[in-house]
């Protein structure tokens, strides 16, 4: 047997390496194909050469080659025109995927989504068809489903199961192939790994990452079509796959997997209202770790500051009181403005605290102490409300607008109203009664409120992956973990809950613009001061790598590498009203 020592090439999706070496692995494979049973020594030799493959898998390769041969015999002549170029494979592990692609290309996808999905249930008893993936030893099959291969490449999975092994004949003709780079659409390659005892070969995490995403999507699709047994199996697979990843992807996948599991088993997620202090702490850590809340606060404050110019008495109604972290900066800016500070009144609205402590009152006291220190006249009122829709304008003790200018502020709160029918309209009505000079709104920039579960899932997967990616650069690990838990709770609510329980109903700026426009609000443009401050703030985080501020129709968007994540917008009552 002639074997050449080739440089091991990492498996890319179907790319082949047309190098100068002429040794044909198909010849090598032919020898291997003769052996039907597993031989560990050959595996070891393969490992030494740098091939990521087990000899048992070579049988599969043989099978595929045979299928390809029969397939090619049946295909029309002009269909073979693209098979003209040479291909040399250095890695027999790639042969399987390459062959699969060839087969699926020649064999148009016939099976519909559901039937294909049914066939991929892992069957541990079929040991000959086992491929190792990740670091664990379990049987995983390629995961099809229309969620992934949208009508393009469907795996010929039915041919894989329960086929007996046959020795291959005339493999030399198999060497010709197109360069697969142009052929392949979306594929899921099965990775192969050596036994865990051998130190040489490692997992290909890139492939696993793709598998992970596809598994998540397939699971979501199964949940949507109420195929709960399949979904259950997939959720377990996701758990294993997630562990093999590193960094942001692993965490996101874990949170989404947990949320999916909750949805499947109908476990309601832990009630957020119970542990108010916990969610406070989480939000504090989120505030510290990444710039999102700071960006939101500073840009909203700048808009409010500009709107309050020249006014002697000002009143801010805050729908998102929490710790009141937004207001020290505004009070300081008001204290420094020309002509001295105005008299500042703050009304804070928040959910009830679980331990019945007057949390809002405490926040008010702290702010009052600060206001006294910087010599700003301060007045405070706190309102506890389960939902913003429970508010009435009469409760707020509004004073005549000649004497007092009002601003309304909402940071990540308005989307929670979209679950209740009529909720958002009621709040808009209340705001219009308040007649504010400005209504600042900060919301997540993503559509997580579509009618179809799978669409929501996909959107949120992308959104939170980007968000977690941006957290990776944060220095402190404990803060980072807390921030991730904070985001994880949002993910859980988004995926696992339905109906009025699902409060994380994010919508994009264009959707909100439509809502505001049709409710009688006109956009108020955020000025260049806000933009400059935001740019400087972001430049301080992580050297400014990745974070960007963009202006969009007068609204400011914070993006991570071109993907917008949160948007600050300001609104005023349109002239008609």
């Amino acid at each position: 047997m002639k074997r050449d020592l080739h440089q091991f090439q990492g498996p890319n999706h179907g790319t082949s390496i047309a190098g100068s070496s002429t040794s044909s692995p198909a010849v090598f494979g032919k020898d291997k194909m003769m052996m039907v049973k597993e031989e560990e020594e050959d595996d070891e030799l393969l490992g030494v050469l740098g091939y990521k493959v087990r000899s048992s898998e070579m049988a599969e390769v043989a099978l595929k080659l045979e299928q390809l041969e029969t397939m090619m015999g049946n295909v029309q002549e002009d269909g073979l025109a693209h098979l003209a170029t040479d291909t040399v494979h250095y890695n027999p592990a790639e042969l399987y995927s390459w062959l699969d692609n060839m087969l699926t290309e020649l064999n148009p996808p016939a099976a519909s989504g559901s039937s294909g999905v049914n066939q991929i249930l892992p069957s541990p008893e079929v040991n000959n068809n086992s491929f190792f993936a990740g670091g664990g030893d379990y049987d995983l099959k390629a995961i099809p489903g229309s969620a992934i291969c949208r009508g393009s490449n469907q795996f010929a999975v039915d041919s894989l199961n329960n086929k007996r092994l046959k020795p291959c004949s005339s493999p030399d003709s198999m060497v010709t192939s197109p360069s697969p780079a142009g052929v392949i659409g979306t594929t899921v390659t099965t990775t192969t790994a050596s036994e865990s005892t051998r130190p040489l070969i490692l997992v290909d995490s890139q492939d696993n990452g793709v598998r992970l995403v596809h598994a998540l999507m397939a699971c979501a699709e199964a949940v949507q079509s109420s195929n709960l047994t399949l979904a259950e199996a997939l959720v377990k697979q996701i758990g294993f796959l997630a562990v093999s990843q590193a960094g942001a992807m692993r965490k996101v996948a874990t949170y989404f997997a947990e949320a999916l599991a909750r949805r499947i088993y109908r476990l309601s997620p832990p009630q957020t209202q119970i542990d108010h202090s916990l969610s406070d702490t989480l939000q504090m850590h989120f505030y510290e770790t990444c710039p999102y809340l700071k960006f939101a606060h500073f840009t909203a404050n700048q808009a409010i500051l500009e709107a309050f110019e020249g006014k002697k008495r000002v009143h801010v109604i805050d729908f998102s009181m929490n710790q009141g972290l937004q207001w020290p900066a505004l009070m300081q800016a008001l204290a420094l403005r020309e002509g001295g500070p105005p008299s500042f009144r703050l009304t804070g609205i928040g959910p009830p605290a679980a331990d019945n402590s007057d949390h809002l009152h405490e926040v008010g006291c702290k702010l009052a102490q600060l206001a006294e220190a910087i010599h700003v006249e301060f007045e405070y009122r706190g309102f506890v409300a389960n939902s913003l829709a429970d508010l009435d304008a009469s409760m707020l003790e509004l004073r005549p607008s000649e004497t007092e200018s009002v601003a309304v502020n909402s940071v990540f709160e308005l989307h929670k109203l979209l679950g209740r029918p009529g909720g958002i309209e009621k709040v808009f009505g209340v705001v219009k009664q308040i007649k504010p000079v400005i209504f600042t709104v900060v919301e997540q920039e993503s559509n997580h409120n579509g009618p179809v579960f799978l669409d929501r899932f996909t959107e949120s997967l992308h959104y939170y992956s980007t968000l977690f990616d941006s957290l990776e650069g944060a220095p402190s690990s404990q803060d980072k973990v807390m921030s991730e838990v904070y985001l994880g709770k949002q993910i859980c609510n988004l995926v696992a809950c339905e109906g009025p329980d699902r409060v994380e109903r994010h919508e994009t700026l264009s959707q909100w613009s439509n809502r505001f426009g049709s409710s009688g609000f006109a956009p108020a443009h955020l000025g260049s001061n806000a933009f400059k401050q935001a740019s400087t703030l972001l430049a301080l985080f992580n050297g400014g790598e990745g974070y960007r501020v963009e202006e969009n129709n007068g609204c400011l968007m914070l993006s991570w590498h071109t993907r917008p994540l949160i948007t600050t917008s300001a609104w005023k009552l349109s002239a008609v009203h």
């Binding site: 700071k294 500073f298 020309e338 910087i374 990776e472 650069g473 220095p475 992580n542």
Partner: protein, 156 residues
């Protein structure tokens, strides 16, 4: 012999007397002058000066020195009303160490206009609020809203 010796002793006495005629000047006796000098120093030099001796360390706590350091590059100069606010929040020295210096380190080419100043003051204000009023509430945790400024960041 003794005459020569007498002459030598006399000469050295004269010398000593001559030296005594020049008045002794110690900067430590004129702390206002010291403050004026320290005010013109840049950050690292000022910090070294504050480490010289206990007296100088005490003098260096004079907030006007740090005010000068903070706003040297700012044009136009912020109004004097800023002074009372900053002292209420913790003083210029703290402002320099916590906000201005890290910002300058991260963005050496920054042009200190009104917006950058406002941003620094906002950050400082949040930090002070956390330190003075919120700290005990969250279980004695040190104020950390400016953690992102303090630690060196690994840009991977």
């Amino acid at each position: 012999m003794s005459e020569k010796r007498n002459r030598m002793v006399e000469k050295s006495n004269n010398k000593r007397r001559r030296v005594k005629l020049v008045p002794e000047f110690s900067i430590n006796d004129h702390q206002d002058v010291l403050v004026e000098i320290l005010r013109r120093l840049d950050g690292p030099s000022l910090c070294s000066a504050a480490c010289v001796c206990r007296l100088w360390s005490a003098v260096a706590r004079n907030d006007s020195i740090w005010e000068e350091l903070c706003f040297r590059q700012v044009s136009p100069r912020p109004s004097p009303s800023l002074r009372s606010i900053v002292s209420a929040l913790g003083g210029y020295r703290r402002l320099y160490f916590i906000c201005i210096r890290p910002v300058l380190a991260r963005l050496p080419t920054i042009i200190w206009s009104h917006d950058q100043l406002q941003l620094s003051l906002s950050l400082y204000c949040v930090h002070s609020y956390e330190r003075l009023y919120v700290g005990a509430w969250l279980g004695d945790a040190p104020p950390s809203s400016l953690m992102f400024l303090r630690k060196p960041v690994n840009v991977v």
